[in-house]
Symmetry: C2
Amino acid sequence: MRISEQIFPRMVGLIVTLSKEGKANVMTASFLMPVSFEPKYIAFSVSPKRYTFKNLKERKELTLNLLGKEMKEEAIICGTYSGRELDKFKKANLITEKSKLVSPPVIKCPISFECKIAEIKEYGDHFLIVGKVLKEWIREEKFTPLLHLNGSVFMEPIKLGNKV
Amino acid sequence: MRISEQIFPRMVGLIVTLSKEGKANVMTASFLMPVSFEPKYIAFSVSPKRYTFKNLKERKELTLNLLGKEMKEEAIICGTYSGRELDKFKKANLITEKSKLVSPPVIKCPISFECKIAEIKEYGDHFLIVGKVLKEWIREEKFTPLLHLNGSVFMEPIKLGNKV
């Protein structure tokens, strides 16, 4: 069994980074969790094969954009293609806004975090990234999050016991 | 907004550790994620106030036990009380089995991982723990995971679009 089918489902975020030259890239991530309440820290895991990885190392900044269940298509596009070949922002019709404290933009979605990278460390086939949240954007306080199982299988949560 | 209400819901695990003297403790965790596929690594976050934290530092071993939605009461008990005051294994009627490669026992539930700790590092009000999975126990391949929002609010996932 793959670990993604054992620890599931996972909330879906879009990670936005900027290259040294200033080109933005966006990547879907679901190996993702909160770390600390105050100050807020988040962690996620990224393959070094991803185009995003180079940007993370170069700039040590990112935005984490947490998706509602309406944004499944955006998650699939940003998880399937590589920013090397394609402008995923355009393909997925993402609306961006200028961040206040970091260089990569935020994406219009329920919640965005502007983060400074506190740690990048290799474990197995992935690198663990820890980010300190410098600023948060709350566009929707109540939303149904988009959750990922694997491949193109996405889920949504319901209160326990509410299944019909 | 608390970060637990922003990155949600999260899969629930029971972390089992052993003190230097050999006493087992169990704690509920939901700041939890997969890190690497091969070899498997997991990460979770723990408050240094927790009794478990001392054990993690002393033995550098743990088991992570992933719960199905039937185990909500067990999650609440192991998340509410401290092992300093109470035998939570007894209170929650947990069934344990001897691990093969680490000293803390595993708990009967859909999936258990025996882990060696690769990293313990402080970020904000929590410590991030990274564990390398040495052995896995798969008791159920198909199960509905227990998910946590906050307090005693738990959730379960359904396939996207299946809500009635």
